[in-house]
């Protein structure tokens, strides 16, 4: 079981879709941020799994190593996004006095 | 020819004028604009004199590579038709500018600039020998007219002008696709070399042999047809015209009627026929039927127009119907008559709009029913108006007659039935024009006009000055149409050789029945719609009607 790529991939996709559900459903901006983090982790899991099980094409670096590095990059990107996102959340919170995204609808149509 | 790029000079003199107007103070705008318009006129007269009617092909050709990547060139050239139309354009532009000295009091600078740019576009269209360049000039014409109607126009001007631009744009954009597709077809057949793919002469040569593929011909001709039919305008694409005419300022209507409507007809003759002869032959019956409808229909609708300008506008629809009819019967007389009719219509309708403007200046009203007895109060105006009204009725001896009759003779050869139908419009034309003339000019002075008191003055010297040249030309071309006919007879023959229909064009019953069925279907459908919910003009920005 723990030796099958599919298991890990499905797990990853589960995490991804849970995150997407959160993103679609939660009202609180920060909850949405967290959901995005979940999605990214799902992606990471998939990447690592591929790295662990994938066949390294001839002449390329070992896939596992590539995978880890890519995952690392993704983490960094996630961190950056979190920084930016939280900054924006705080800024809008100052204006609107609420973290609830569905009340940010001054602009529409 | 001389080394002097005469055509470029004619084309771009007004542009220089526009720049000059832009730089110089507004007080000088009128003078400068008129000056450059007259310069252009003089230059075009040089062209007229220098042009040698006998020779085939184009003269004064200027050809420079412009966008080598696609073989697009800056190529101008003149043949008989172009020469005639260019001179018409320059003349009427000068007159129109002169005529708008008094009426236009606000934003005179912008006005003159728009007008000169407009002139550039129109001349360019008539001289361009590169399909791409042609399209560019074609579109350039739109913008100034859009502004002229929209800024200096009447109450409902914004609706009118947007309708005008959008309507025209739909057609012309499809034409762009057609132009490009044609160019590619040429390129594909010349080992992927773009050289000559936009050059009219090359394309024409290719069109005569081996000729473009049927599918392309039909599609491309369809697109060209739409663009030109809207511009002419042919039934049922004509409804922008009455609005545009009614709302445009006097000079705008003049140019619109006198020159811009000719762009479409010119396009048919210059591009649509030579490039897609087979498709043209295929389409001809339909177009003839549409032209006949336009001729009769325009006249009938004109009979009940309460608004003077609208009446003239619908008469334009009717008269331009003769042009398209003459073009698509593919006979020497028909085509020559069509071109003659283009020029005559330009002179006569232009003059009519000028005269309407004269009265509008004084009364600020165009309702025929409120006029009456002008002959007593403004005899000169009444006389001149009468002159042009009869010219428009097609009175022999004035230019209007020759063109129409040639078209009819040409049509008769191709299809007597069509000629018979078209000839009946002689009655209707007399009907609506004389009704209007009698209503306005005869009888006792109407209460409305009496109310104006002495504000209702006769024509001023300037106004007369604007009309004298037109009247003279109308008489000259009426007595000596040969002056024009010989100018472009050669070109006409060339064009016809390209099309050369085997047999007289039989209008298939299918075309007629189809047309009628469509009309009826339209009536039924539309009536239903109207009954369901009354539709109002929507193309206008909210509150657009207001000043």
């Amino acid at each position: 079981m723990s030796d099958s790529l599919d298991a890990y991939l499905i797990l990853a996709s589960l995490l991804f879709s849970i995150g997407s559900f959160g993103f679609l459903a939660r009202r609180n901006a920060i909850s949405m941020l967290m959901s995005i983090e979940l999605m990214l982790n799902g992606v990471n899991l998939a990447i690592v799994a591929f790295g662990a099980f994938g066949v390294t094409p001839a002449g390329a670096q070992p896939l596992s190593a590539q995978g880890s590095v890519i995952a690392l990059m993704v983490m960094a990107v996630a961190a950056a996004e979190a920084t930016v996102g939280l900054a924006i959340v705080i800024a809008i919170y100052r204006n609107k006095k609420t973290p609830l995204v569905d009340e940010y609808d001054a602009m529409s149509r | 020819m001389t080394g002097l790029p005469l055509l470029s000079i004619i084309t771009f003199l007004p542009l220089v004028g526009a720049l000059a107007v832009a730089i110089l103070p507004a007080t000088m705008a009128r003078g400068v604009a008129l000056g450059f318009a007259v310069l252009a006129l003089i230059a075009s007269l040089f062209l007229l004199i220098g042009y040698l009617p006998g020779r085939p092909g184009f003269q004064y050709v200027e050809s420079h590579s412009w966008i080598p990547a696609f073989g697009i060139g800056y190529k101008l050239g003149a043949d008989g038709i172009s020469v005639a139309l260019v001179v018409l354009t320059t003349t009427l532009s000068a007159i129109a500018i002169l005529a708008s000295f008094k009426p236009i009091q606000t934003r005179i600078k912008e006005y003159m600039i728009s007008f000169l740019v407009l002139e550039v576009g129109m001349i360019g269209v008539f001289l361009a020998l590169d399909t791409f360049l042609f399209y560019i000039f074609w579109e350039i014409v739109l913008v100034p007219m859009y502004l002229i109607i929209g800024i200096w126009g009447g109450a409902n001007r914004i609706y009118a002008t947007i309708k005008f631009v959008l309507y025209t744009l739909v057609g012309s954009l499809l034409m762009l696709v057609a132009i490009l597709a044609t160019a590619y077809a040429y390129q594909a057949d010349h080992a992927g070399s773009w050289i000559g793919a936009f050059d009219f002469e090359m394309l024409r040569a290719y069109a005569t042999s081996p000729g473009f593929a049927d599918g392309l011909q039909l599609a491309a001709f369809g697109a060209f047809f739409l663009a030109f039919a809207i511009k002419v305008p042919m039934f049922p694409f004509h409804t922008w015209l009455p609005d545009a005419h009614t709302e445009a300022p006097t000079a705008g209507s003049v140019i619109l009627a006198a020159v811009m409507l000719k762009l479409g007809a010119y396009g048919f003759i210059r591009f649509a026929l030579p490039l897609y002869p087979d498709a043209a032959a295929t389409f001809a019956p339909v177009i003839i039927v549409l032209s006949l409808i336009a001729i009769i229909y325009g006249a009938i609708v004109a009979l009940v127009q309460p608004d003077l300008k609208r009446l003239v506008a619908y008469s334009s629809v009717s008269h331009m119907g003769f042009v398209t009819l003459g073009i698509f019967v593919f006979t020497q007389q028909g085509l020559q008559g069509a071109i003659l009719q283009m020029i005559n219509h330009g002179l006569i309708t232009g003059a009519l709009f000028l005269l309407v403007g004269v009265i509008y200046e004084r009364t600020h009203d165009r309702t025929i029913a409120r006029m009456g007895g002008l002959a007593g109060r403004t005899p000169v105006w009444a006389a001149v108006f009468g002159f042009f009204v009869f010219a428009s009725v097609g009175l022999p001896g004035l230019s209007g007659f020759v063109g129409e009759f040639l078209v009819l003779v040409g049509t008769f050869q191709a299809n007597p039935g069509a000629a018979a139908v078209a000839t009946f419009v002689m009655i209707l034309a007399a009907g609506y024009l004389l009704y209007m003339y009698g209503r306005m000019v005869f009888g006792e002075l109407s209460d409305f006009l009496t109310g104006l008191g002495n504000r209702l003055t006769d024509m001023t010297a300037v106004e007369i000055l604007t009309l004298v040249p037109l009247a003279t030309l109308v008489v000259i071309f009426g007595v000596q149409p040969g002056l024009l006919l010989n100018l472009f007879s050669g070109t006409v023959t060339e064009t016809l050789d390209a099309v050369a229909p085997a047999a007289p064009i039989a209008i298939p019953d299918a075309a007629v029945i189809g047309g009628i069925v469509l009309l009826l279907a339209g009536i039924v459908a539309r009536t239903g719609w109207v009954l369901l919910k009354p539709s109002r003009p929507v193309l206008q920005p909210e509150g657009g009607a207001a000043h």
Binding site: S2, S17, V48, A52, Q61, V84, P99 | -
Partner: protein, 197 residues
């Protein structure tokens, strides 16, 4: 009170179930412990994930997220990427989660936790995300990955060499990325003297 704790109960149920399965596998079926561990961690991760997106109190959501990431780290170890697991712990649990918790604190309104957890469109959202999950899962199942029979343990030195040979440029770019994020973030989060507090 009851439906308030439903998500928790649900999550615990999932966890318990899976742990039970794992226990059974271990004890009775004598399978190797890795599978069991996989199940365990997976269960914890999914359960925690569900809690993150369902719980009302956002602070608990944050905590649940930490749990979730922890479990994921475990899975990384299991899959043979211990270094990454470490990074996971450091970056996510260490940095991001804390950052988020701070943000939560900053944006807690007086009337928090708020009345409604979910959007009006929670149901369609659930459907949509389920469909995504199903589609992806089907695609995965239907695909022959030509994968190895068993997972490759990652050699740390290999990773470092890769990082500093092939991926040196991305590495540098990431630093720039973070720099930009920080610069902007600071500007945006900084309270304006004149601005509303």
């Amino acid at each position: 009170m009851l439906q308030r704790s439903i998500p928790i109960i649900l999550a615990l149920a999932v966890v318990g179930l899976v742990m039970g399965v794992a226990a059974i596998m271990l004890v009775f079926l004598g399978q190797d412990w890795a599978d069991a561990l996989f199940w365990l961690l997976a269960a914890v991760m999914i359960g925690a994930g569900l809690l993150v997106v369902t719980m009302r109190d956002i602070i608990r959501c944050g905590l649940a997220m930490i749990v979730c990431f922890g479990a994921l780290a475990g899975i990384y170890v299991l899959i043979g990427a211990p270094l990454l697991a470490a990074a996971q712990v450091i970056i996510y649990i260490g940095a991001i989660s804390v950052l988020i918790l701070f943000a939560i604190m900053l944006t807690q309104t007086k009337d928090a936790p708020s009345r409604l957890v979910f959007q009006t469109q929670a149901v369609p959202a659930a459907i949509a995300s389920t469909v995504i999950a199903v589609v992806v899962a089907l695609a995965i199942a239907a695909t022959d990955w030509g994968e190895l029979p068993e997972r490759v343990r990652l050699a740390t030195d290999a990773m470092s060499s890769v990082l500093f040979s092939d991926f040196v440029l991305p590495f540098e770019v990431v630093s720039v990325l973070l720099l930009a994020a920080v610069v902007g973030g600071v500007f945006l989060a900084k309270r304006e003297p004149g601005g509303p507090s």
